[in-house]
Structure formats: C-alpha cells, structure tokens
Amino acid sequence: MGRLSIYLPPFTGDYSGVCSALFDFNCLIVLCDASCCTKNYINYDEPRWSRNKTTTLCAQLRTMEVALGDDSRIINQTIEAAQALKPDFIALLGSPVPAIIGMDMKGMAREVEERTGIPALGFDTTGFVNYHRGVSSALVELFRRFSDPHTPKIPRSVNLLGLTPLDLGAVGNADALRAVVEDAGFSVVCNFLMDSDLEDLCQSPGASVNLVITSSGLALAREMEEALGIPYVIGMPIGTKQTQAVIDLLEESMKKGISQIPSANNQEGNEGLLILGDQIIANSIRNALQAMGCTRPVVVSSFFELEPALSAPADIRLEKEADLIRALQSGSFSTVLGDPLLHRIPQMASLELIPLPHPVISGRLHWDEVPLFTGEDMQKLLHRAINPPHQGKEK
C-alpha cells in the first residue's frame, strides 16, 4: 500500500522548516495559503513563539484569485505590510495550492523587492515534502543572499550548521552546543540558524571550519566547501567520548583543510537497537554508543533524508509507515530509540521504546521533553540503550 499513515501523525512540512529557520530574524514572512498551513506552523511547529512576534502572516488565498492566477493582491499587501513593519528582509512561501497551480514565488519576491527596495526571497515550498527540505533551502538561500564572501578568515572559528528547533527543541541545545565548541577553544561565528542575526550570517564565510549538527545543514556545508573552500565535520557532540571525537575531527579538518566524515558501522548480532530520527543525530548517537563499548547491532533509520554516503550498510530509509512496521516485525531489534509516539504502533508492544522526542513528529505534545544532547539526560539515555533490555542497564 502507498503512503498510508495509521499510527503516526503527519510530519512537519517544508514551509514550516523555512519559517522556523527565519524565526530569529526581523523578517516579514508571507505564507501563501488559505489558513491551515500558517496555523500548522504557528500552533504545532514553533516552540519559540512569543507574544511580540507578528511578522508571520497568512495570505488568505481564495479560490477565485487562484483560479484567475491573480497574485497582485498578495504582492500589494506584502508591500504595504513591509512598509508598516520595516523588516530587514521579506520571504514569500508557497503551499500545496500554489504548488499545483504553479504560482511563481521567486518571481513574486523579485517584484516585491523591486518595488520596496527591501531584499525579498521566494521559496517554492509545497507542503508535499518534509521539513528538512525547507530548513535546508532556507539556510542555503540566506547564505547566498546575505553572507560576505570577502570576510577575513577568523582563526579557530566554527559555524554550526543545521541548528533547528524542529530537531533540537527549544530547550537550550543551541547554547549548549556553542558552549561545547567554545570550551574546546573555538569561537562560533554563526549558528545556522538559532539565536543568530544577519551580522553573524554576513561574517559566516570567515569561519575556519563548519560543524554539521543535523542533516538540514549538509547542503550548506557542501556549498560553503565548494564556494569558499571551508571544510566541514559531520557530527553532533553527544556523550564524553563522541564529543571528544567531534572536537578532534574539527582540529584535524582545520589543520588539513579537508572535510571529516565519521565512518558509520553496523555490527552483526541479535537484540539490535533501531534509532529513528535525523540521520546525523542518529549516527552520532550510534557513534557515542560504540565509543562507550556498545556491542549490540545499532541501525539508523529515518523518514527524512538518509544520505547513502553517511549510512552504514544495514541502515534503513523509511518511505512510509509500513516500512517501519516491517522493520519492527523483522525480529532484528529489541529496542527502539525514537519519538514517544512510536508507542502507538502495535508492533512496538513487544519491544523496548527509549523515548527521544523529535518535534517534527510529535510537535508540541513532547517538544519540552527534548533532552540537552550534551547533557546528563542524554548520557542516561545512552546508558539505557547500550545493552538489550533483559541484560540490565549501565548506571
């Protein structure tokens, strides 16, 4: 059967990914939808909302103007709103209806920019694809538009790529990751994209090396390597040994000027651990476990991007819920580490679930329970995952 989902909710869409990436900026966002898409983002995909935030607006598309292909109202009202709100830049986003009728978001953005003199970006988001595409495209577009390639190099400096509350929640992971890198003697130029401003973004080409924290940062890392020769390291600092390994790779990458990608390995055996989530975070958890002496098979799976170059042979790209059910029924796993909502799948009943909330799945239901990846709670989670359930756990 096709893309039927019975137990898990629909995941965060690409337009929420873009909105989330732009949240910290003084940016006027106009989402070209009827209302539901904007509500999806505001009510279900943005944990940082504040009462003062009034710059994510819904275009309130209506049937007739869509049928007539008339985008002039949205363009005119965006210009009016920009004059009132005075943003640093403007973003126009698509949704399913603009996608199927071929509304030209980039063209509309060009017209808005010409008429206001304010930089405007168009995103052909569709709602048919997941958040990762949205975050990823926002990072790349912002870099292309606002970074200064002539920024002088800053010694021992790092950009953190792929920071998004959609993977990390809004519980302090951005600050904690920055602290880990700074404690190792690096300075952070830009967090792409939590707690950063346009000035940080402008200076980002000055970094010595990029650290890719989640899959959403990978496209930008590759672009910066190609355009500016900045090497990158892939890995989320998790657990003492894995964190040190990431720091060592940063040192090596900076020294040699070559990107460093940790190898991904599955071990054979029974009572496997299946990790479900963002590929880079899941890989990092696997590496942390293996560095701690974990000998059980650890397989990474994801409903989102699963780069072959970053995958171990047994890793599983999930196209649909049925693929996950098949994996759970395979007999290969006794433990699953992933979002708490996985407990709804009947095939989970005989397996151990170690909950690691993923906001793109459970949204606001569990986003406050996301752990600090560099902290004690994550360490406890690793100790729980290291052995199969009946063999007891490390303290």
């Binding site: 096709g2 893309r3 039927l4 209302s35 819904c58 309130q60 598309l61 209506r62 049937t63 399913p96």
Partner: protein, 399 residues
C-alpha cells in the same frame, strides 16, 4: 473580515474539538503537511485511533492516481482497525478544489466494493471561505448526510452546530423534559452508529451555533425534521423569546423559566456591583456573536472598551451596527490584522473575555471562554457573570 494578510494568534495547548460520527473513521487524503494539525489535535484529544492519512504527492496530482488508491486503502484499514468502523469519512483539502475529483464516482465505487460500510466525502477547504456556505458548515452537513430517513418520530430533539454540550445543569434540559422531550441528542455525546441514526427520528433540530444552520436546512429537506434557530444569547429578553418560540413549536404552554431568569438577573447585579466601572474587552474567540454579547452586557450597564475580532462572522451585524451608533466609545479591533495588533491602546485593568485578546494584552484578568462553550440560556448568562467576577478577583500570569 476583509481579505488581507492575517496574523494568527498561537493557540498552543488550547483545546479544539472536531465533530465526528460515532464508530466512524476519518481518512484524510491530502499532502502530508495538510494533515499535521489534524493528526496532532486528534492525539491531543485522545481521538487518534479514528483518523488515518493517505499522503498524496505532486506526481499523484498529475496522474490522478490518488482516486484509485482510496478503495485499496479502505480495504487495508478494515484489516487492521479494531473494532472495524461502520462508516468512513473521506476528507479532502484545498487542493481538491482545483483537481476536479469525481466524488460521485468515488462514492459509487466505495459503496459497491464495501456494501456494509457507509461513506461520505468532507472538504476541509478554507480556500473556499468566501463561498455562500462556509467550509465548516458544509463539513457538518456531510457528517449528518450519513443519516437515513426514519419511519418513526420520537420525543426527542437534536442540538445541532455546537461542539460542546451546554451545561446539563442549565434550564434548557429541565424545560425540555417538562415539555415532554426527555431525549436530547448531540453528535459528540453519542457512543454508537446506531444511536447516531436515531437522530433521524427527532421532532426538532435546535440550532445552537450558526455553523449548524445549513445542516439543519438540509436535514429538513432530506429527513423532514424542522429546525429552530436558538443561538447562544446573553440578552435576557432574547433568551426568553427563544424559550417562548420553542414552547410554541412543541405545543406546550410557554412558561416555566421565570425563576431561572430571576437568578440570572441577580447574578448580573452582583457582577456589576463588583466590577463597578472596570471595562470589559470581548473577543470573537469567546463568543460566536461577540457584538451581540457586547450589546447585551452594555445593556446591563457594563462598560465595553473594545471588541476584538479575529474570526469575523456576519451573524450579529445588526448588533455591530447598533454598537457603532449607540456606543461610539466602544472600539472595534480587527485582531487578525497585523497593523492593529502592533498598535493597540487598550486599558490594562480591563477584564478580557476570550483568549485572543487576553493573550495579546497579557491581560491579568482573563475569562477563559471559547466559542460560548457550555453556556446557554439564563444559566449561561449566570455562569458568564460568575466567570467575569472570578476573573476580576484572580490574576492570570502569562509566561
């Protein structure tokens, strides 16, 4: 509200109830992102077992294959859902307005292939909000379209349109019982599909929310059930007129509510005394007819500083006009507009009725009322007064 760029006030954690037919299952056929809030809301409401999602891709849109996938999906769901549903509601979204899905052919195919099951197609399409019949009203009608005509009539009425039952301690239920109507059915309070079918045997449909009026009109045509508009009102005389009309259509002597009215009058007097000149703010998330609420409260002597509209309906246009003419000091603020949200100037000590205005102002005096829920009749007025008095005495903290 005029069409324009809109600002949405986040409703993190606020309950929102969706109506469903008991023992039915909703299959949402849509792009993945469209179903997100529906999926998370149903989890929040403990109703996730009654919803599934069939994601369509851009390729499906081009090929039209999604129509062919629905029947196979129903078959798969029937193999795994326990207990098996008796009806399926196929939900389609905004994009369907541009795809030209052949709904009739799809329903014929489904009914032919699954002879013991019942089907209907619902549209969740806010893009069609300017249609004569609002999408929400049309969706309610689709639910009740599953009712089969009944050959008998029983001593019952249906409450239509409301998402939450009026407080059962209110006089509505007592009066109906005294007037020979012991059974009151509401779709959200029913447990079985058979019980849902009994709604077709009702003597009357009482429309408590305007969103149910189109449904009631259609039920009158399809099932011969007449209806009576009984919108929630905070005006004592309107409530009395409403009960009078109900008694007449039921063929009973129109009396019996006098004591309830006196209780409501006493509650109004007590609340007025407590608040003295403290102003009120009223928003459209609290009441389906916020201008009518404002006019009624103004009539009792309350000072209405502003009416905050985020969900504009035309139900109480007359009261709006009355307020413009007779209460020029009462401001009307279109809360869905970014420009009014960023530049308001409202009294900080006001009692804010409704989440949207209270959230926007970080109002310490917050009456947590959503869409009139649980309030009806004299008992509803009394309860509103108690809520206002409580909010006046209690400080709400906004983190």
């Amino acid at each position: 509200m005029g069409k324009g760029l809109s600002f949405f006030i986040p409703h993190h954690g606020r309950p929102k109830i969706s109506l469903r037919v008991p023992e039915s299952h909703s299959l949402h056929v849509c792009p993945a992102a469209c179903g997100r809030r529906i999926g998370l809301r149903s989890l929040n409401n403990g109703e996730a077992d009654y919803s599934s999602f069939l994601y369509i891709t851009e390729a499906d849109v081009i090929s039209g294959d999604y129509e062919n996938m629905v029947a196979d999906t129903i078959e798969e769901l029937m193999e795994v859902l326990t207990p098996p549903p008796k009806a399926f509601l196929i939900h389609v979204n905004c994009i369907d307005d541009f795809l030209g899905t052949d709904e009739e052919a799809l329903l014929v195919e489904l009914r032919d292939r699954f002879k013991d099951l019942h089907f209907t197609i619902c549209h969740i399409n806010p893009i069609a909000s300017q249609d004569l019949v609002a999408p929400g009203a049309r969706k309610q009608d689709r639910l009740y379209s599953l009712l089969d005509r009944s050959s008998e009539q029983e001593a019952s009425v249906n409450l239509i349109g409301n998402f939450v039952s009026p407080d059962t301690k209110g006089e509505l239920f007592t009066l109906l019982k005294e007037w020979g109507i012991p059974i009151v059915r509401q779709i959200h309070a029913l447990n079985s599909y058979d019980e849902f079918q009994r709604m077709a045997a009702a003597r009357y449909n009482l429309v408590l929310m305007s969103m149910g009026r189109y449904t009631a009109q259609q039920m009158e045509k399809r099932l011969d059930i007449p209806y009576l508009d009984m919108p929630v009102s905070y005006d004592l005389n309107e409530v009395e007129k409403c009960y009078h009309a109900l008694a007449l259509v039921l063929g009973v002597v129109p009396k019996g509510w006098e004591g309830y009215r006196r209780e409501a009058e006493a509650a109004i007097a007590s609340c007025r005394k407590k608040l003295r000149n403290t102003p009120l703010l009223i928003d459209s998330s609290a009441a389906m007819r916020p201008f009518a609420m404002a006019k009624a409260l103004q009539g009792y002597g309350f000072k209405i500083a502003a009416i905050f509209i985020t969900h504009g309906k035309d139900e109480d246009m007359a009261e709006r006009q009355w307020l413009i003419e007779h209460s020029p000091e009462t401001r009307i603020i279109w809360g869905g507009r970014y420009d009014t949200v960023i530049s308001h100037d409202l009294p900080a000590d006001a009692v804010a009725i409704g989440f949207d205005v209270a959230y926007t102002l970080k109002s310490p005096r917050f009456v947590d009322l959503q869409r009139d829920e649980t309030l009806f009749g004299f008992h509803g007025i009394r309860t509103l007064m108690e809520k206002i008095a409580e909010a006046y005495d209690t400080e709400t903290r906004w983190d």
